[in-house]
């Protein structure tokens, strides 16, 4: 895939406050890229610079080889969906959707045809004469989306568009947006602070922290092989432990987690015996059972069991060393205080530089 949008050493500061620090970012044509990070990590600023509402303090942004960072918003051909939808309250649904087409000076009959087709696509045709204030949140969201899509912009930018919806509707809209993305081959840049939203929708995720990209990868890679401590902690849940590397050979390393518990992990070339390392293991990759399976089997004790409906969360300890495991159901009649063997696959462990 050729680079479509490119940020080259882009920095942005508001007064003395640096929000983005020398960012390089490539977005491919037709991909769904999520910008994920806690609030204040600069992800919305990046979107605003793409849309043209903010200008970079330094650096360049190009779209399809053309520099766009100094262009005003109305000449960038980007459809923006705002968190609060930003529908025009004094226009009907149809007038809202027709607005970008009128700005393009399309002939009247063509506008009518496109508006009709676009509203039918999101099943809002019957509401076209309503005002935005007469629609539900989900319907407003679909109108905003339609309005941003209808003029065939080169990129769709979404700023936490699902933040104001309730959980069920949000999940439904996630699927709907994903489906539109696939069907129309859109390039979408999606800002969110909701990691599960980013994981389910994106082709790639860029994880932001304090104005810098921590990691940019497929959802799979972000979840399974986080490359920094921040990513490991921010995405999903993990057991993060400072450990000592004692032995490295044949692509595997033995590390001591604490309380005399040692684990075998997959090792890259960067690990050396005698080093400190950061060990990360997802709770759902652990198995509890008397029979050790896999290379790692640790003897621990159950200290707490929390019921979550579809799964259980089990707290394990040995000495002052603790783990959290997640199981679908408990195999035995285990109660607090039961000794148990914890096993996991070396391939499921991630070891990071501390």
């Amino acid at each position: 895939m050729q680079p479509f949008i490119q940020f080259e050493s882009v920095s942005k500061s508001f007064g003395s406050l640096a929000v983005i620090d020398s960012l390089d970012l490539t977005i491919h044509k037709g991909e769904f890229l999520s910008l994920l990070g806690p609030s204040g990590s600069g992800k919305t600023t990046i979107l605003m610079m793409l849309a043209g509402f903010e200008r970079p303090t330094r650096g360049t942004i190009t779209l399809d080889g053309m520099r766009i960072d100094q262009l005003p918003p109305h000449r960038r051909e980007m459809g923006v969906v705002f968190q609060n939808y930003a529908l025009f309250p004094h226009m009907t649904v149809a007038e809202n959707v027709a607005f970008p087409l009128e700005m393009k000076r399309l002939p009247r009959h063509e506008i009518a045809r496109k508006v009709e087709r676009a509203l039918d696509m999101v099943r809002l045709g019957h509401l076209k004469n309503r005002r935005p204030s007469q629609l539900s949140g989900g319907q407003q969201q679909r109108v905003a989306l339609t309005r941003a899509l209808v003029f065939e912009p080169r990129v769709i930018l979404m700023d936490e568009p699902l933040g104001a919806l309730d959980k069920q509707l949000r999940e439904h809209m996630q699927l709907e947006i994903r489906e539109l993305h696939k069907r129309l081959g859109l390039t979408i840049v999606f800002v969110t602070h909701d990691q599960s939203e980013a994981l389910t929708m994106s082709d790639r995720i860029a994880v932001f922290n304090a104005g810098k990209v921590e990691q940019i990868d497929s959802p799979h890679a972000i979840y399974d092989t986080p490359r920094t401590r921040f990513v490991a902690q921010f995405i999903g849940e993990t057991n993060l432990i400072e450990a000592d590397v004692v032995n490295v050979q044949n692509g595997h390393a033995t590390i001591v987690l604490g309380a005399d518990l040692a684990a075998k992990v997959r090792s890259g070339p960067e690990l050396q015996a005698g080093q400190k390392a950061l060990f990360s293991l997802r709770p759902e990759r652990m198995r509890l059972g008397a029979d050790p399976a896999g290379d790692n089997a640790l003897d621990m004790t159950i200290t707490d069991c929390i019921y979550h409906g579809d799964h259980m969360r089990v707290q394990l300890a040995k000495g002052n060393f603790t783990f959290t495991a997640r199981c679908e159901r408990l195999a035995g009649n285990w109660t607090v205080g039961t000794p148990v063997v914890v096993s996991f696959d070396p391939r499921d462990c991630t070891v990071l530089a501390p």
């Binding site: 849309a51 043209g52 509402f53 005003p72 918003p73 109305h74 960038r76 051909e77 980007m78 459809g79 923006v80 705002f82 968190q83 609060n84 939808y85 930003a86 529908l87 025009f88 309250p89 004094h90 607005f99 970008p100 700005m103 393009k104 935005p132 204030s133 007469q134 949140g137 407003q140 905003a144 309005r147 941003a148 003029f151 930018l157 104001a164």
Partner: protein, 264 residues
Amino acid sequence: MFRTAQILFGVSVVIFLLMPIVAILPLAFTSSVFLTYPIEDYSLRWFVELATADAWRLSIMNSLIIGLGATLLSTILGTLASLGMRSKALPFANLLRTMFLLPMVVPAVVLGVGMQMLFVNLGLASTYPGVIVAHAVLCVPFVIVSVSASLQGIDPSVEKAASSLGASPVMVFRRVTFPLALPGVISGAVFAFATSLDEVVITLFVAGPNQRTLARQMFSSIRENISPTVVAAALLLIIGTLCLGGLAALLRWRQERSALKAVP
């Protein structure tokens, strides 16, 4: 107990405010040439006088010309000022706002004297443009207050959305900002017109005999000969102002209702 006291107090304040009007208005329908009770015979002769006497007819025409002129001028200037003060790039926006609102608090006599001196030098004294400008100065604050309030109610992301959808700044203003601010502009204009209609003090200083407005005419006819025509004119003014005020309230109510509904 407390509730009863509240109601009693409220009612007495309203009575206190309304009594002077209630006391004098019926005299508009007297047939006598004196402003005295009891009214022996009812007639509409003073309204006929209002419509036929040259001095009164001219003053009504003047009030309309000057009122409409001042409303137009102050609405345009006040709206532009409100738009300008909304910009983040403008330094001292608050200082400017205070300046624009000063005519509300500066004594009219002071403004009147100042304007008279200025207008004599500019050749505007005793001319229609002079009186219109003078009234517009008084009206601008009302427009600014009303338009600023409705601009404040506009979600900035709506304007951003418009520009991202391909609208140039001029188009954003024409298609989004202005239509959304329109109720505020209209109610500002209504206030401006009502202000101009009531204005006497500054008119005394800057208007010549040819620009005698209705309010000014009432003022002088009270001093010269207290005829019931003044009361008839007052009744017209009150009814006109009430209608305009009602219109403004209606517009504001509609705007608030649509703003309330717009919250998702």
